[in-house]
Protein backbone atom coordinates (compact mmCIF):
# COMPACT_ATOMS: atom_id res chain seq x y z
CA UNK A 1 0.00 0.00 0.00
CA UNK A 2 1.42 3.37 -0.99
CA UNK A 3 -1.01 6.24 -0.71
CA UNK A 4 -0.60 9.15 -3.12
CA UNK A 5 -2.50 12.24 -4.04
CA UNK A 6 -2.61 13.43 -7.62
CA UNK A 7 -3.76 16.97 -8.37
CA UNK A 8 -4.60 18.19 -11.84
CA UNK A 9 -3.28 21.76 -12.11
CA UNK A 10 -5.17 22.20 -15.39
CA UNK A 11 -8.50 21.61 -13.69
CA UNK A 12 -7.89 23.49 -10.44
CA UNK A 13 -9.63 26.88 -10.33
CA UNK A 14 -8.13 27.94 -6.99
CA UNK A 15 -11.45 28.19 -5.17
CA UNK A 16 -9.96 27.09 -1.80
CA UNK A 17 -12.82 24.69 -1.11
CA UNK A 18 -10.21 22.09 -0.19
CA UNK A 19 -8.80 24.48 2.43
CA UNK A 20 -12.17 25.12 4.05
CA UNK A 21 -13.16 21.43 3.91
CA UNK A 22 -9.96 20.48 5.70
CA UNK A 23 -10.36 23.16 8.34
CA UNK A 24 -13.90 21.96 9.04
CA UNK A 25 -13.17 18.23 8.93
CA UNK A 26 -10.08 18.41 11.11
CA UNK A 27 -11.09 21.17 13.52
CA UNK A 28 -8.11 23.22 12.40
CA UNK A 29 -7.68 26.20 14.77
CA UNK A 30 -8.76 29.59 13.49
CA UNK A 31 -6.10 31.30 11.38
CA UNK A 32 -4.34 28.01 10.62
CA UNK A 33 -4.59 25.61 7.71
CA UNK A 34 -3.23 22.23 6.74
CA UNK A 35 -3.60 22.82 3.00
CA UNK A 36 -3.47 25.96 0.93
CA UNK A 37 -3.68 27.14 -2.68
CA UNK A 38 -0.81 28.66 -4.65
CA UNK A 39 -0.99 30.64 -7.83
CA UNK A 40 2.09 30.82 -10.03
CA UNK A 41 2.32 33.28 -12.89
CA UNK A 42 5.03 32.46 -15.37
CA UNK A 43 6.31 34.52 -18.30
CA UNK A 44 5.64 38.10 -19.44
CA UNK A 45 2.66 39.50 -21.28
CA UNK A 46 1.42 38.35 -23.77
CA UNK A 47 2.93 34.93 -23.15
CA UNK A 48 1.73 34.30 -19.64
CA UNK A 49 1.02 30.99 -17.98
CA UNK A 50 -0.94 30.55 -14.81
CA UNK A 51 -0.74 27.51 -12.58
CA UNK A 52 -3.11 26.91 -9.69
CA UNK A 53 -2.62 24.15 -7.23
CA UNK A 54 -3.61 22.94 -3.81
CA UNK A 55 -0.64 22.15 -1.56
CA UNK A 56 -0.22 20.26 1.71
CA UNK A 57 2.13 17.90 3.51
CA UNK A 58 3.72 15.72 0.83
CA UNK A 59 3.91 12.61 3.02
CA UNK A 60 7.45 12.11 1.78
CA UNK A 61 9.07 8.70 1.54
CA UNK A 62 12.30 10.24 2.79
CA UNK A 63 10.65 12.52 5.32
CA UNK A 64 13.11 14.96 6.97
CA UNK A 65 10.57 15.65 9.74
CA UNK A 66 10.55 12.00 10.75
CA UNK A 67 14.33 11.78 10.67
CA UNK A 68 14.93 14.84 12.84
CA UNK A 69 12.21 14.15 15.42
CA UNK A 70 13.97 13.49 18.75
CA UNK A 71 11.13 11.52 20.32
CA UNK A 72 9.70 9.54 17.41
CA UNK A 73 6.42 11.49 17.60
CA UNK A 74 6.65 12.09 13.85
CA UNK A 75 6.38 8.69 12.24
CA UNK A 76 5.28 6.92 9.09
CA UNK A 77 2.33 4.55 9.25
CA UNK A 78 1.19 1.89 6.79
CA UNK A 79 0.57 3.34 3.37
CA UNK A 80 3.38 5.88 3.80
CA UNK A 81 1.36 8.48 5.69
CA UNK A 82 3.40 10.77 7.94
CA UNK A 83 1.63 11.35 11.26
CA UNK A 84 2.41 13.09 14.56
CA UNK A 85 1.49 11.48 17.88
CA UNK A 86 0.27 14.40 20.02
CA UNK A 87 1.41 13.07 23.37
CA UNK A 88 4.88 12.11 22.17
CA UNK A 89 5.53 15.54 20.65
CA UNK A 90 7.44 17.98 22.88
CA UNK A 91 6.97 20.96 20.55
CA UNK A 92 10.67 21.50 19.89
CA UNK A 93 10.00 22.76 16.37
CA UNK A 94 12.74 20.70 14.67
CA UNK A 95 10.29 19.13 12.21
CA UNK A 96 8.91 22.56 11.29
CA UNK A 97 12.45 23.73 10.53
CA UNK A 98 13.13 20.58 8.54
CA UNK A 99 10.13 20.73 6.19
CA UNK A 100 10.98 22.23 2.78
CA UNK A 101 7.24 22.75 2.21
CA UNK A 102 6.58 24.52 5.53
CA UNK A 103 3.61 22.21 5.94
CA UNK A 104 3.67 21.97 9.75
CA UNK A 105 2.66 24.31 12.53
CA UNK A 106 2.49 24.32 16.32
CA UNK A 107 -1.10 23.87 17.47
CA UNK A 108 -1.91 27.16 19.27
CA UNK A 109 -3.84 25.49 22.11
CA UNK A 110 -2.37 22.01 22.22
CA UNK A 111 1.27 23.02 21.73
CA UNK A 112 2.04 19.87 19.75
CA UNK A 113 2.86 19.93 16.05
CA UNK A 114 0.02 19.45 13.64
CA UNK A 115 -0.35 18.98 9.90
CA UNK A 116 -2.20 17.19 7.09
CA UNK A 117 -2.89 13.53 7.88
CA UNK A 118 -4.31 12.64 4.45
CA UNK A 119 -7.48 12.42 6.62
CA UNK A 120 -6.23 9.16 8.10
CA UNK A 121 -9.43 8.82 10.14
CA UNK A 122 -11.51 8.93 6.95
CA UNK A 123 -9.27 6.49 5.08
CA UNK A 124 -9.83 3.96 7.87
CA UNK A 125 -13.54 4.15 7.06
CA UNK A 126 -12.87 3.73 3.36
CA UNK A 127 -13.54 7.38 2.57
CA UNK A 128 -11.38 9.84 0.63
CA UNK A 129 -9.64 12.79 2.31
CA UNK A 130 -12.03 15.72 2.86
CA UNK A 131 -10.22 17.98 0.37
CA UNK A 132 -10.52 15.39 -2.40
CA UNK A 133 -14.17 14.78 -1.57
CA UNK A 134 -15.30 18.42 -1.87
CA UNK A 135 -13.29 19.56 -4.89
CA UNK A 136 -15.92 21.08 -7.24
CA UNK A 137 -13.82 20.53 -10.37
CA UNK A 138 -12.78 17.00 -9.30
CA UNK A 139 -9.17 17.93 -9.86
CA UNK A 140 -7.88 15.88 -6.92
CA UNK A 141 -7.42 12.13 -6.91
CA UNK A 142 -6.41 9.84 -4.09
CA UNK A 143 -5.37 6.21 -4.19
CA UNK A 144 -2.77 3.46 -3.95
CA UNK A 145 0.31 3.65 -6.16
CA UNK A 146 1.13 -0.01 -5.49
CA UNK A 147 -2.02 -0.94 -7.36
CA UNK A 148 -1.21 -0.47 -11.06
CA UNK A 149 -4.89 -0.25 -11.97
CA UNK A 150 -5.77 2.51 -9.51
CA UNK A 151 -6.88 5.88 -10.84
CA UNK A 152 -3.75 7.61 -9.49
CA UNK A 153 -1.42 5.04 -11.09
CA UNK A 154 -3.20 5.39 -14.41
CA UNK A 155 -2.99 9.19 -14.30
CA UNK A 156 0.73 9.15 -13.53
CA UNK A 157 1.29 6.66 -16.35
CA UNK A 158 -0.49 8.77 -18.95
CA UNK A 159 -0.05 12.39 -17.89
CA UNK A 160 3.00 14.58 -17.51
CA UNK A 161 3.52 15.35 -13.83
CA UNK A 162 5.84 16.88 -11.26
CA UNK A 163 6.45 16.91 -7.54
CA UNK A 164 7.41 19.94 -5.43
CA UNK A 165 11.08 20.68 -4.71
CA UNK A 166 12.38 17.28 -5.89
CA UNK A 167 15.90 18.68 -5.33
CA UNK A 168 15.21 18.59 -1.59
CA UNK A 169 15.48 14.82 -1.90
CA UNK A 170 12.30 14.09 0.01
CA UNK A 171 10.49 11.80 -2.51
CA UNK A 172 7.06 13.42 -2.10
CA UNK A 173 3.81 11.52 -2.53
CA UNK A 174 1.70 14.42 -3.78
CA UNK A 175 1.90 14.67 -7.58
CA UNK A 176 0.82 17.51 -9.83
CA UNK A 177 -0.39 16.89 -13.37
CA UNK A 178 0.96 19.67 -15.58
CA UNK A 179 -0.04 18.62 -19.11
Amino acid sequence: MRYAMVIDTLKCVGCSDCVVACQTENNVPLGYCRDWVTETVDGAYPNVELELKSERCNHCDNAPCVRCCPTGASHIVEGGIVLVTDDECIGCGACIESCPYDARYQHPEGGYVDKCTFCHHRLEKGQNPACVEVCPTKCMYFGDLDDPTSEVSELLKTRKHKVLAPEAGTSPNVYYLIK
Binding site: C33, T38, T40, A44, C68, G91, G93, P100, G111, G169
Partner: protein, 319 residues
Amino acid sequence: MQEEIFVSGRHLPNIDPHLEIWHWEISLYLFLGGLAAGVLFFAALFYLLKKEDEMPATVKYAPIIAPIALVVGLAALFFDLSHKLYVWQLYTTIRLESPMSWGAWVLLITTPISILWVFSYYRETYPKLEKKLQTFKMLKFLEPFEKFLIKNRKVMALALLPLTLILGIYTGILLSAFNARPLWNNAILGPLFLTSGLSTGAAGILLFTKNHFERTLISKIDLALIFIELALIIHMFMGMYAGSQVQLEAMQILIGGQYTVMFFVFVIILGLIVPFTLELTEIIGFKVPIIAPALLILLGGYVFRMVMVNAGQLTRYLY
Protein backbone atom coordinates in the same frame (compact mmCIF):
# COMPACT_ATOMS: atom_id res chain seq x y z
CA MET B 1 10.86 35.24 -17.75
CA GLN B 2 9.19 36.36 -14.60
CA GLU B 3 7.70 34.20 -11.97
CA GLU B 4 5.50 35.31 -9.17
CA ILE B 5 4.04 33.15 -6.52
CA PHE B 6 1.05 34.19 -4.52
CA VAL B 7 0.02 32.03 -1.65
CA SER B 8 -3.60 32.41 -0.77
CA GLY B 9 -5.35 31.22 2.34
CA ARG B 10 -2.13 30.65 4.26
CA HIS B 11 -0.88 32.94 6.98
CA LEU B 12 0.35 30.48 9.54
CA PRO B 13 1.58 32.25 12.68
CA ASN B 14 5.41 31.97 13.09
CA ILE B 15 5.72 30.30 9.67
CA ASP B 16 4.56 32.82 7.05
CA PRO B 17 6.09 34.83 5.49
CA HIS B 18 9.18 33.17 6.95
CA LEU B 19 9.89 30.88 9.88
CA GLU B 20 10.09 32.30 13.37
CA ILE B 21 9.86 29.03 15.21
CA TRP B 22 13.19 29.26 16.99
CA HIS B 23 13.79 32.45 18.93
CA TRP B 24 16.45 33.85 21.24
CA GLU B 25 16.19 30.81 23.50
CA ILE B 26 17.74 28.60 20.86
CA SER B 27 20.60 31.01 20.03
CA LEU B 28 21.27 31.46 23.75
CA TYR B 29 21.36 27.72 24.30
CA LEU B 30 23.61 27.10 21.27
CA PHE B 31 26.01 29.71 22.69
CA LEU B 32 25.91 28.44 26.28
CA GLY B 33 26.16 24.80 25.20
CA GLY B 34 29.27 25.59 23.15
CA LEU B 35 30.75 27.66 26.00
CA ALA B 36 30.19 24.87 28.55
CA ALA B 37 31.61 22.30 26.14
CA GLY B 38 34.73 24.44 25.62
CA VAL B 39 35.35 25.11 29.32
CA LEU B 40 34.87 21.46 30.30
CA PHE B 41 36.95 20.19 27.40
CA PHE B 42 39.98 22.23 28.50
CA ALA B 43 39.43 21.33 32.16
CA ALA B 44 39.38 17.62 31.37
CA LEU B 45 42.25 17.87 28.89
CA PHE B 46 44.64 19.72 31.19
CA TYR B 47 43.65 17.54 34.13
CA LEU B 48 44.61 14.46 32.14
CA LEU B 49 47.85 16.18 31.06
CA LYS B 50 48.56 16.58 34.81
CA LYS B 51 48.61 20.39 34.65
CA GLU B 52 46.19 20.70 37.56
CA ASP B 53 48.52 22.80 39.69
CA GLU B 54 50.06 24.90 36.93
CA MET B 55 46.70 25.73 35.43
CA PRO B 56 44.29 26.16 38.33
CA ALA B 57 41.90 28.47 36.46
CA THR B 58 41.40 25.98 33.64
CA VAL B 59 41.00 22.86 35.77
CA LYS B 60 39.49 24.15 39.01
CA TYR B 61 38.03 27.65 38.82
CA ALA B 62 36.61 28.23 35.32
CA PRO B 63 34.55 24.98 35.25
CA ILE B 64 31.96 26.73 37.48
CA ILE B 65 30.87 28.37 34.20
CA ALA B 66 29.80 25.00 32.79
CA PRO B 67 27.00 23.91 35.15
CA ILE B 68 25.62 27.46 35.24
CA ALA B 69 25.70 27.75 31.44
CA LEU B 70 24.17 24.31 30.99
CA VAL B 71 21.37 24.85 33.50
CA VAL B 72 20.52 28.28 32.06
CA GLY B 73 20.78 26.88 28.52
CA LEU B 74 18.56 23.92 29.31
CA ALA B 75 16.03 26.21 30.98
CA ALA B 76 16.00 28.32 27.80
CA LEU B 77 15.47 25.20 25.68
CA PHE B 78 12.65 24.06 27.94
CA PHE B 79 11.12 27.52 27.77
CA ASP B 80 11.08 27.28 23.97
CA LEU B 81 9.17 23.98 23.87
CA SER B 82 5.52 24.41 23.00
CA HIS B 83 4.40 21.09 24.53
CA LYS B 84 6.44 21.30 27.71
CA LEU B 85 4.81 18.65 29.91
CA TYR B 86 5.87 15.95 27.46
CA VAL B 87 9.57 16.77 27.62
CA TRP B 88 10.27 13.39 29.26
CA GLN B 89 9.42 11.77 25.92
CA LEU B 90 12.98 12.69 24.88
CA TYR B 91 14.23 10.01 27.25
CA THR B 92 11.99 7.20 26.13
CA THR B 93 13.97 6.61 22.97
CA ILE B 94 17.36 7.06 21.32
CA ARG B 95 17.03 8.23 17.75
CA LEU B 96 20.37 8.11 15.95
CA GLU B 97 19.07 10.02 12.94
CA SER B 98 18.04 12.99 15.07
CA PRO B 99 20.89 15.22 16.30
CA MET B 100 18.47 16.66 18.86
CA SER B 101 18.09 13.21 20.37
CA TRP B 102 21.88 12.75 20.77
CA GLY B 103 22.02 16.24 22.24
CA ALA B 104 19.34 15.44 24.79
CA TRP B 105 21.19 12.32 25.93
CA VAL B 106 24.63 13.94 25.97
CA LEU B 107 23.25 16.83 28.05
CA LEU B 108 21.63 14.37 30.43
CA ILE B 109 25.08 12.90 31.17
CA THR B 110 27.28 15.99 30.84
CA THR B 111 25.28 18.35 33.05
CA PRO B 112 25.54 16.19 36.20
CA ILE B 113 29.23 15.45 35.54
CA SER B 114 29.90 19.20 35.26
CA ILE B 115 28.23 19.74 38.64
CA LEU B 116 30.17 16.86 40.20
CA TRP B 117 33.45 18.18 38.77
CA VAL B 118 32.92 21.60 40.34
CA PHE B 119 31.76 19.97 43.59
CA SER B 120 34.89 17.82 43.78
CA TYR B 121 36.99 21.01 43.90
CA TYR B 122 34.83 23.21 46.11
CA ARG B 123 37.09 22.93 49.20
CA GLU B 124 40.01 24.31 47.19
CA THR B 125 38.17 26.87 45.10
CA TYR B 126 35.67 28.23 47.58
CA PRO B 127 37.34 28.07 51.01
CA LYS B 128 34.83 30.53 52.48
CA LEU B 129 31.92 28.43 51.36
CA GLU B 130 33.60 25.35 52.78
CA LYS B 131 33.87 27.04 56.21
CA LYS B 132 30.20 27.93 56.13
CA LEU B 133 29.13 24.49 55.00
CA GLN B 134 30.86 22.88 57.95
CA THR B 135 28.34 24.56 60.16
CA PHE B 136 25.61 22.70 58.29
CA LYS B 137 26.06 19.31 59.85
CA MET B 138 23.41 17.80 57.64
CA LEU B 139 25.81 18.08 54.72
CA LYS B 140 28.29 15.82 56.46
CA PHE B 141 26.93 12.74 54.74
CA LEU B 142 28.28 14.15 51.46
CA GLU B 143 31.88 13.79 52.60
CA PRO B 144 32.39 10.15 51.55
CA PHE B 145 30.78 11.00 48.21
CA GLU B 146 33.15 13.92 47.79
CA LYS B 147 36.14 11.68 48.53
CA PHE B 148 34.82 9.21 45.99
CA LEU B 149 34.58 11.96 43.38
CA ILE B 150 38.10 13.24 44.10
CA LYS B 151 39.41 9.71 43.62
CA ASN B 152 37.51 9.37 40.35
CA ARG B 153 38.34 12.69 38.72
CA LYS B 154 40.27 10.83 36.07
CA VAL B 155 37.17 8.83 35.13
CA MET B 156 35.14 12.03 34.91
CA ALA B 157 37.81 13.69 32.76
CA LEU B 158 37.99 10.69 30.44
CA ALA B 159 34.22 10.78 30.04
CA LEU B 160 34.15 14.54 29.54
CA LEU B 161 36.59 14.58 26.61
CA PRO B 162 34.33 12.78 24.13
CA LEU B 163 31.11 14.14 25.67
CA THR B 164 32.17 17.77 25.36
CA LEU B 165 33.32 17.26 21.78
CA ILE B 166 29.94 15.75 20.90
CA LEU B 167 28.17 18.56 22.77
CA GLY B 168 30.20 21.17 20.90
CA ILE B 169 29.76 19.70 17.45
CA TYR B 170 26.16 18.51 17.67
CA THR B 171 24.76 22.05 17.86
CA GLY B 172 26.21 22.69 14.41
CA ILE B 173 25.16 19.33 13.03
CA LEU B 174 21.66 19.97 14.38
CA LEU B 175 21.34 23.01 12.11
CA SER B 176 23.25 21.57 9.16
CA ALA B 177 20.93 18.54 9.09
CA PHE B 178 18.01 20.72 7.97
CA ASN B 179 18.25 20.72 4.21
CA ALA B 180 15.05 22.76 4.07
CA ARG B 181 17.05 25.79 5.30
CA PRO B 182 19.82 26.30 2.74
CA LEU B 183 21.91 28.60 4.94
CA TRP B 184 22.26 25.89 7.58
CA ASN B 185 22.60 23.02 5.19
CA ASN B 186 26.37 22.94 4.88
CA ALA B 187 28.61 20.33 6.41
CA ILE B 188 31.09 22.87 7.76
CA LEU B 189 28.67 24.14 10.39
CA GLY B 190 29.43 21.30 12.83
CA PRO B 191 33.22 21.92 12.97
CA LEU B 192 32.57 25.68 12.88
CA PHE B 193 30.31 25.60 15.93
CA LEU B 194 32.72 23.28 17.72
CA THR B 195 35.66 25.63 17.07
CA SER B 196 33.63 28.63 18.10
CA GLY B 197 32.50 26.80 21.26
CA LEU B 198 36.09 25.89 22.17
CA SER B 199 37.15 29.49 21.53
CA THR B 200 34.40 30.91 23.76
CA GLY B 201 35.39 28.29 26.34
CA ALA B 202 39.00 29.51 26.22
CA ALA B 203 37.72 33.08 26.57
CA GLY B 204 35.71 32.04 29.61
CA ILE B 205 38.83 30.49 31.16
CA LEU B 206 40.86 33.66 30.43
CA LEU B 207 38.47 35.58 32.70
CA PHE B 208 39.58 33.36 35.61
CA THR B 209 43.34 33.16 34.91
CA LYS B 210 45.75 34.70 37.38
CA ASN B 211 49.18 33.31 36.48
CA HIS B 212 51.12 34.37 33.43
CA PHE B 213 51.97 30.88 32.17
CA GLU B 214 48.35 29.78 32.08
CA ARG B 215 47.12 33.01 30.52
CA THR B 216 49.71 32.85 27.74
CA LEU B 217 49.04 29.20 26.99
CA ILE B 218 45.24 29.63 26.82
CA SER B 219 45.67 32.81 24.74
CA LYS B 220 47.86 30.90 22.29
CA ILE B 221 45.31 28.11 22.02
CA ASP B 222 42.61 30.71 21.50
CA LEU B 223 44.62 32.40 18.75
CA ALA B 224 44.83 29.10 16.92
CA LEU B 225 41.10 28.52 17.40
CA ILE B 226 40.17 31.98 16.10
CA PHE B 227 42.39 31.41 13.08
CA ILE B 228 40.71 28.06 12.38
CA GLU B 229 37.30 29.62 12.88
CA LEU B 230 38.01 32.37 10.35
CA ALA B 231 39.27 29.76 7.90
CA LEU B 232 36.12 27.69 8.40
CA ILE B 233 33.92 30.75 7.81
CA ILE B 234 35.75 31.45 4.55
CA HIS B 235 35.36 27.78 3.72
CA MET B 236 31.61 28.02 4.40
CA PHE B 237 31.25 30.97 2.06
CA MET B 238 33.27 29.26 -0.66
CA GLY B 239 31.11 26.17 -0.36
CA MET B 240 27.97 28.25 -0.69
CA TYR B 241 29.37 30.23 -3.62
CA ALA B 242 29.80 26.93 -5.40
CA GLY B 243 26.34 25.79 -4.34
CA SER B 244 22.93 25.80 -5.92
CA GLN B 245 20.66 28.79 -6.40
CA VAL B 246 19.02 28.37 -3.00
CA GLN B 247 22.43 28.45 -1.30
CA LEU B 248 23.55 31.50 -3.26
CA GLU B 249 20.40 33.28 -2.14
CA ALA B 250 20.87 32.12 1.43
CA MET B 251 24.44 33.43 1.51
CA GLN B 252 23.23 36.78 0.23
CA ILE B 253 21.64 37.43 3.62
CA LEU B 254 25.10 37.36 5.21
CA ILE B 255 27.15 39.09 2.54
CA GLY B 256 24.72 41.68 1.23
CA GLY B 257 21.45 41.59 3.06
CA GLN B 258 19.62 41.80 6.32
CA TYR B 259 22.31 40.31 8.57
CA THR B 260 25.43 41.61 6.83
CA VAL B 261 26.26 44.38 9.32
CA MET B 262 25.50 42.17 12.29
CA PHE B 263 27.66 39.38 10.90
CA PHE B 264 30.67 41.37 9.72
CA VAL B 265 30.80 43.99 12.47
CA PHE B 266 29.92 41.88 15.50
CA VAL B 267 31.07 38.40 14.51
CA ILE B 268 34.00 38.85 12.14
CA ILE B 269 35.51 42.16 13.28
CA LEU B 270 34.58 42.58 16.96
CA GLY B 271 34.22 38.88 17.72
CA LEU B 272 37.24 37.47 15.90
CA ILE B 273 39.70 39.94 14.35
CA VAL B 274 39.85 42.49 17.20
CA PRO B 275 40.30 39.90 19.99
CA PHE B 276 42.83 38.05 17.81
CA THR B 277 44.86 41.24 17.50
CA LEU B 278 44.51 42.04 21.21
CA GLU B 279 45.61 38.57 22.29
CA LEU B 280 48.51 38.66 19.89
CA THR B 281 49.74 42.03 21.20
CA GLU B 282 49.42 40.71 24.75
CA ILE B 283 51.51 37.65 23.97
CA ILE B 284 54.14 39.82 22.27
CA GLY B 285 54.47 41.70 25.55
CA PHE B 286 52.22 44.74 25.51
CA LYS B 287 49.83 45.27 28.40
CA VAL B 288 46.27 44.45 27.41
CA PRO B 289 43.57 43.86 29.99
CA ILE B 290 42.67 40.23 29.23
CA ILE B 291 39.03 40.92 29.98
CA ALA B 292 38.73 42.89 26.71
CA PRO B 293 39.44 40.13 24.17
CA ALA B 294 37.69 37.55 26.34
CA LEU B 295 34.43 39.51 26.51
CA LEU B 296 34.60 40.33 22.80
CA ILE B 297 34.96 36.64 21.94
CA LEU B 298 31.99 35.77 24.14
CA LEU B 299 29.92 38.55 22.57
CA GLY B 300 30.95 37.48 19.06
CA GLY B 301 30.11 33.85 19.87
CA TYR B 302 26.61 34.78 20.99
CA VAL B 303 25.94 37.10 18.03
CA PHE B 304 27.20 34.38 15.66
CA ARG B 305 24.62 31.91 17.00
CA MET B 306 21.90 34.53 16.89
CA VAL B 307 22.68 35.51 13.29
CA MET B 308 22.83 31.88 12.14
CA VAL B 309 19.57 30.91 13.86
CA ASN B 310 17.64 33.96 12.64
CA ALA B 311 19.11 34.21 9.14
CA GLY B 312 18.73 30.46 8.58
CA GLN B 313 15.02 30.73 9.18
CA LEU B 314 14.74 33.36 6.44
CA THR B 315 16.02 30.88 3.87
CA ARG B 316 13.98 28.20 2.18
CA TYR B 317 13.46 26.17 -0.95
CA LEU B 318 11.78 27.93 -3.83
CA TYR B 319 9.56 25.79 -5.92
